[in-house]
Amino acid sequence: MMKRLLAVWHARNLEFLRDRPTLLFTLLLPLGVVISMGFIYGGPPRPLFTVGVLGTDVARHANPFLHERYVQSVPIHDAAAGLYKITHQSIDLLLDLDGTARYWVNTDSPKGYIVEKLLIAADPGARRQPVTGQAVRYVEWLFPGILAMNMMFSCLFGVGYVVLRYRKSGFLKRLHATPLSAFEFLSAQVLSRLSLILFVTALLYVLIAAIIHFHSAGSIGLLLLLAVIGSLSMIALGLTVAARFGSEEVVGGLLNLLTWPMMLLSGVWFSIDSSPRWVQWVADIFPLTQLIDAARAVMLDGAGLQRITPNLIYLAVTTLVFLAFGAWSFRWRVD
């Protein structure tokens, strides 16, 4: 028995070691995740209090209160956006440095209570503007990200692997022998996956919203539009990956290469607002980031069409770019 076991063990090890892409991903993926997380969340200890500042950078740098230990200042360019953040406790204090110093503090926020004491100690003359409002629960903040992440996995793997399987099995070659064009085939795949993902996402939305007692602050119709365009963008990305290759290892590796950074950097689990600026720029490239940002804006902030239009345009443009590239590089058969 041991001889047979060893023979199979040895053959399987050879197979694994000679499958270079899989071996490479097995080694590089955990390393990449650890290094990325170190970059994003490394550095000195994080401040305890976040103060939004309305006013010039000069005034901000000159204010001694904003140099207190454990206080981080964040420039805010729009008073309405600042008030929204303080109401939802995503900042602890909003300070206006234009003219006579005044500040807004959320009387429902424990951190607001403490940081206000620090401000008064540094500038007793600052005028107080109290607001109230509960913080967004983490589960509600998480909800749009989870839905979007599920859409991403379904779109990328659901389309990418299916097309690859069709190509490897020869089914695509058989379809190629019919009047079906590549455009028709790809469009059918897109529509099939889109209808499926919309149904699943709608079902998940209803179920999770019922469980966590969530009500969207914005329009459901707008969410649907966002889901359609976001799904299209990621389905098109999946088709681009699967358009040409005939190897599970290569396609699997590429899909992992896309999904892992998106999952970590697109703000599914936690905000990356305090990570380095370049990380935020990279994150903004991902369709998932655009989808999650817009979904959170609609679901949590009640944002309208105008506010999420840039996200929608970005997703629509990437859809067209990915589809065009996918159609151009599409192969019916394994070369």
Partner: protein
Amino acid sequence: MPDSAAILEVHDLVKQYPTVTAVDGISFGVPEGTCFGLLGPNGAGKTTTIEIMEGILPPTAGEVRYRRESLGPRFREEAGILFQKTALQDFLTVRQSVALFRGLYERGLEVDEVLRLCALEKLASRDNRKLSGGQQQRLLLAIALVNDPKVLFLDEPTTGLDPQARRNFWELVASIKARRKTIILTTHYMEEAQLLCDEIAIMDGGRIIAQGAPQRLLSEHFAEVLLELPRHEFPEVARQLPLKLIDASDRVEISTHDLDGTLRALIDAHVPLRNLRIRPANLEDLFLELTGKELRA
């Protein structure tokens, strides 16, 4: 050169891969309503040739014309294809698989009619993954027939089937042939080619080494009968006899029109005759004669 009345014409076809020339400048025509066989061993270039003719593989040089036009949308609509290996979409029944392909053509037969033609009515509700080899090939043939094609390509359709399933399939193809369809068949089963084909082209090393009606080719190359003896029972001294010998891997074949005289010569040379077989020549013998190689080597 291809026949000017041909429905399909192949002109100076070449397919070059980095290390091998799979098809090396072949030309022929397929007359409408006939069954044309491409014969040859594995690696002869049959499948490459037929895939270029089907329009799914681009040639390095040369051209295939359908009804005097380059292969285009009309050809796609009017061609039916059964590949050597094809997987179908999972989780579909036989009927759903046929209906899927019926939906890809403007014109064609009703799904029920195709199922009946291929004796698949009783299997219509079965998952296509749960069919036997012969049933699977009948389903693939049904899919190839779904557009009521003018030209039907069958690439080694009975490879891997048991003898009974193979014979059933031949009957099916014969019934399609009776409907005046043009059939292009590749095979390495000589019996299949002899039974079904009106004309054959024998390929070896990417070239056509003989072409014509099977019976005409046989009568051109062989006398009336073949005597077959196991090689190990054929003494070296008998090779000096004035006989036309053909060496196969495990046997020696003697082509003759004087059976009595040949038998007497063998007896005189003390060749043991207890395992002697006497049979008419077939296409396999023709291939051996032309190339010195066996077809299924």
